[in-house]
């Protein structure tokens, strides 16, 4: 995949991810007149984004394990999944800076939950993605 094509995929994913984040973590709490809920909303956004990215990375890993040649095109299949969904959408959807900016104003519990749960949820998603795509040798791809 050329750099230009990858950049376009990442930009499209980043724009849609950022839109989804603003709608869920900024506008929704504003619309229900509870602006302080945005901290909890951002926790949910970061958790769901981490889960999704972990899952997709697991799927990609399983695909690479089986050999990408099955997809047909040399670098196709996995590349757009990585550029558009993992780097673009999940990356634009989740936010580290938003989380850090909310820490001084928010509760320590939510900060600790974000720190501990995001990597664990990503690990869970990754294992789930690998398993469901039949990546492990213990589980044949035909099943």
């Amino acid at each position: 995949m050329t750099v230009l094509r990858r950049t376009m995929f990442v930009a499209a994913g980043g724009a849609s991810g950022a839109t989804a984040r603003v709608l869920l973590a900024t506008l929704l709490p504003m619309a229900v007149d509870r602006p302080h809920w945005s901290i909890a909303a951002l926790l949910l956004v970061n958790l769901s984004g981490s889960l999704m990215a972990g899952f997709l990375r697991g799927v990609l890993e399983a695909k690479q394990q089986r050999g990408g040649a099955r997809v047909g095109v040399g670098d196709g299949g996995g590349e757009w999944l990585d550029a558009f969904l993992i780097v673009g959408f999940c990356g634009g959807y989740t936010s580290y800076s938003g989380f850090i900016a909310m820490v001084p104003a928010g509760s320590a519990l939510i900060a600790a939950a974000t720190l501990c749960l995001c990597p664990l949820v990503a690990l869970l998603g990754m294992l789930l993605g690998v398993r469901l795509s039949g990546g492990y040798p213990a589980r044949p791809a035909s099943l």
């Binding site: 990442v10 499209a12 724009a15 950022a18 506008l27 580290y96 938003g98 850090i100 990597p119 990754m126």
Partner: protein, 171 residues
């Protein structure tokens, strides 16, 4: 259910605002007339909606730009140094500095929406960091986990507070 109404309305405006470009000019004029009638009928609700629409569009543009910069930085560090995790750390810390400096802007400022909500939000990421740490957990690289979970958090918070103090906002 008003909340969903506002969110759906913002989406509809987002699609609607881009739609007329594809229409012939007569249809565009009809849509404009319809818009003006709506504006007169709905009063300040639609005015608020335009602010929301602008906010979403600016955040999306900033998010696209931030994501592209993040992808470039992470790609360069992955190919040159073989350490994608350091790229993620670098963009996250840079985004925290930007957000700290942007704290000087008022909350409703369009520039703040573009830079803080869009660019810094798209530049920083939790998902890539979480995936890197998940890989470290699987490979049992405890030093890297310590660097990326408590280490990055302390560094980012310190940088954010320092940048905010520099920008002159002590709220």
């Amino acid at each position: 259910m008003e909340a969903w109404g506002v969110v759906l309305f913002a989406w509809e405006r987002l699609l609607f605002a881009r739609g007329p470009c594809l229409c012939p000019s007569s249809a565009r004029a009809a849509i404009l007339r319809h818009n003006v009638r709506m504006l007169l009928a709905a009063g300040d609700i639609l005015a608020m909606d335009i602010v929301l629409l602008r906010m979403v569009v600016l955040a999306a543009l900033g998010g696209a730009l931030g994501s592209v910069v993040r992808d470039r930085v992470v790609s360069v560090l992955r190919t040159r140094a073989g350490r994608a995790d350091l790229g993620v750390l670098a963009v996250n810390l840079a985004a925290c500095v930007i957000v700290g400096l942007g704290a000087g802007f008022a909350g409703a400022d369009p520039i703040a929406h573009f830079i803080v909500l869009g660019f810094a939000g798209g530049l920083s990421t939790w998902s890539s960091l979480a995936v890197e740490v998940a890989g470290d957990i699987r490979a049992r690289r405890w030093a890297r986990i310590a660097l990326h979970v408590p280490g990055a958090f302390a560094l980012a918070l310190a940088l954010f507070l320092a940048a905010r103090a520099l920008a002159g906002d002590h709220s």
